[in-house]
């Protein structure tokens, strides 16, 4: 890389970084960036550079989810001989998209065939990519995966609670503005009544009052009430128009007390979660576009339909026994090293030749439940009738949330809603039902928010992660105590075996965790290889 800073001109920060990157490599550039206060958010250091000759070393990668795909791509690029064994007939693992015509048999033999229209889909696993997930973002860029904005927060979507506001869903913009207004008004009152004098100087008080007026859209008397300021936040009863009868009519805020009582404030901050901040993205056409892009790179080394049954190691190498799922024939794959990305829910049932600390770690992590259901409707009524374009409505019904598609806005055809995405007890309850009963329930619950469900529902598809035959759960449910006891052992190199995956990360269930875990494993493996 060349610097475009001319001799004598002051060096701009970007040029300095380019210079450092060119001379000392990306790791040094990253360290410099960190020193300059940039890129502190992620552990991703840019494309890894596995310098040094692996001298013909071979690696068998177990599992072709994102962790396995990243390991295969990077190790092969560095000169290793790589083979991947995958249980399914496709790569990607939880990076998965279901489309019309897809057939899926869950544990217990329950079949579903997706009947979605062309171009409509459900991402049963990961479905959004925060912009601070630098590793996923960078692989998308490098592999040419197109991204589009994921509408996380939509002020026109709903918050709903079955026992609040008569069961009538409320617009997020109303609750958001009115809750902020109510809080600001209360605090302004306390400030004006000298109740905060112990903590605030006279100057602070003045500043705080000004800030509260701005924060809560308060009027000149520090009251939050119907008027232009409040309507500017929550919207009008009658929007400003043009021509005659164009004058706006202010809307009436919901009383603060009602919002407090409703408990819907529990969901007000969902979009404020670091993992949900704007900007946030989704791959155009479905999450599995990432898996497909990786497969274009390394698909030729993936052995599909291979169920791993035994992982043995010696001083000389690793031998993995696997059964071809179609023929039942058992074979072995041998290599110098093994990067095992098999989820712990499955790995804990496979004979693996590792020392006690890693074996204990493999057995220590329970897998959390999650449930998703997609429903197809004859028309995009959420857009046409309710002016909701993307985003999420939250409810205390068992479906937990309804997400509107962040693509195809305004199209005249059918649409698919993520009509339920839930965890905990409700996820077990949904998983316990047959696929047909889940759809019935999802329609029944969703109709309490969108009455159009009745007339427009066409078909549905659900994934209960504990019934997914190749996963038996959603993701590793670590606690701090478990991490303290087992995490380092799980991530250590045991002889010739390393583990990787979201379960070997501090970002469980996110693709970023799987990729960062894999990159970390691959780097440590490579250092070991070139130093011996």
């Amino acid at each position: 890389m060349t610097s475009n800073a001319s001799p004598g001109a002051p060096l701009r920060r970007r040029d300095l970084l380019k210079l450092i990157g060119g001379v000392a490599g990306t790791t040094a550039m990253y360290q410099a960036m960190t020193a300059l206060g940039l890129h502190a958010e992620s552990r991703y250091r840019g494309p890894i550079a596995l310098d040094g000759n692996p001298k013909g070393a071979s690696v068998v990668v177990l599992g072709a989810g994102l962790a396995g795909l990243v390991a295969a791509l990077e190790l092969r690029k560095a000169g290793y001989t790589v083979r991947v064994l995958e249980y399914q007939d496709r790569a990607g693992g939880r990076c998965w998209t279901v489309r019309g015509g897809d057939r899926y048999t869950e544990l217990g033999g329950f079949d579903q065939t997706c009947e979605f229209d062309r171009d409509l889909y459900l991402n049963p696993g990961p479905w959004r990519i925060p912009s601070h997930h630098f590793a996923v973002m960078d692989y998308c860029r490098r592999l040419g995966v197109g991204l589009e904005p994921f509408m996380q927060v939509n002020h026109n979507a709903y918050l709903h609670a079955k026992n609040a506001f008569g069961g009538v869903p409320q617009r997020y913009r109303h609750l958001r503005a009115d809750f902020a207004g109510g809080v600001a008004e209360l605090l302004a009152k306390a400030t004006s009544q000298q109740q905060l004098d112990e903590t605030l100087s006279a100057g602070d008080k003045e500043l705080l009052l000004a800030a509260l007026r701005n924060f809560g859209a308060l009027d000149e008397n520090y009251r939050y009430k119907a008027g232009r300021a409040a309507s500017d936040r929550r919207g009008y009863a009658k929007d400003p128009g043009g021509g005659l009868t164009a004058e706006p009519v202010d809307s009436e805020p919901i009383p603060f007390r009602s919002i407090l009582d409703s408990r819907v404030w529990q969901r007000l901050a969902d979009g404020d979660s670091y993992y949900h901040h704007n900007a946030i993205f989704q791959p155009i056409g479905g999450m599995d576009m990432i898996a497909r892009a990786f497969t274009r790179e390394v698909g030729d080394v993936i052995r599909y339909g291979a169920r791993v049954t035994d992982i043995k190691q010696s001083a000389a190498g690793v031998t993995v026994a696997y059964t071809d799922r179609a023929s039942g024939v058992t074979s072995t794959a041998s290599a110098d090293w093994c990067v095992c990305t098999i989820p712990l829910s499955v790995l804990s049932q496979i004979a693996i030749d590792v020392a006690t600390p890693m074996a204990k770690a493999i057995n220590a992590v329970p897998y959390s439940p999650a449930f998703k259901v997609g429903l197809q409707f004859g028309r995009r009524f959420w857009e046409q009738d309710e002016h909701i374009y993307g985003g999420i409505s939250y409810t205390d019904l068992p479906i937990n949330q309804i997400s509107y598609p962040s693509c195809g806005y305004g199209s005249a055809g059918k649409g698919v809603l993520l009509a339920g995405y839930t965890f905990g007890v409700h996820a077990y309850e949904f998983a316990s039902l047959s696929p047909k009963e889940r759809i019935t329930k999802a329609v029944e619950y969703g109709a309490q928010i969108h009455p159009q469900y009745g007339a427009e529902f066409e078909n549905g598809f659900s994934v209960a992660w504990h019934r997914v035959p190749w996963l038996l759960g959603c993701s590793g449910a670590w606690t701090d105590a478990m991490r303290a006891e087992h995490y380092e052992h799980l991530c250590a190199i045991d002889g010739r075996i390393l583990l990787a995956g979201e379960h070997a990360s501090y970002i469980p269930a996110w693709q970023e965790g799987a990729i960062l875990s894999s990159l970390d494993a691959v780097e440590r493996l490579h250092r070991r290889v070139i130093s011996t």
Binding site: Y87, L107, F110, V425, L433, S434, V443, P451, A455, L472
Partner: protein, 139 residues
């Protein structure tokens, strides 16, 4: 004000259609008895309904278990159930990838579902577990 459609149309009809479309005769019916009501704790008190809203997600409607890349053990005719304390501890505290159900069930509910499994699906153990015994295995 929220912009609602003026007419609530035939939801019940749609649900019925959904109910008729799927499933095969070979598959055991699964109960959807409307236990959905609390996101953090299971509501039913009796063992059968608890089984049908939690255990059967993995161990299947007749306790037959299931196998894919890994397996859920069958609870039907399972000799490991002979030791009441063992199965009580597994349900309460979890085991390997199986999550602990103790945080989502009270002692009476754990006892009820353990006693149900130990006396159904070809299991015939008569020494019932008590809530006090559940409490004793909680970690």
């Amino acid at each position: 004000m929220r912009n609602r459609l003026p007419i609530i149309r035939g939801l019940a009809a749609a649900c019925c259609v959904g109910g008729m479309l799927y499933g095969g005769p070979a598959l055991m019916a699964q109960s959807g008895d409307g236990t959905f009501s609390n996101p953090a704790r299971f509501v039913p008190k009796d063992g059968e309904r608890l089984y049908q809203s939690s255990c059967q997600a993995c161990h299947m409607p007749a306790g037959e278990g299931a196998a894919g890349a890994a397996a859920y053990p069958a609870l039907a005719k399972n000799r490991k159930l002979r030791t009441a304390r063992y199965i009580t501890s597994v349900v309460t505290n979890g085991q390997r990838a199986m999550p602990p159900f103790g945080p989502m069930l009270d002692d009476e509910q754990v006892a009820a579902v353990v006693n149900y499994v130990r006396s159904h699906f070809g299991n015939d153990y008569t020494d019932a577990v008590t809530a006090a015994e559940v409490k004793a295995v909680r970690r």
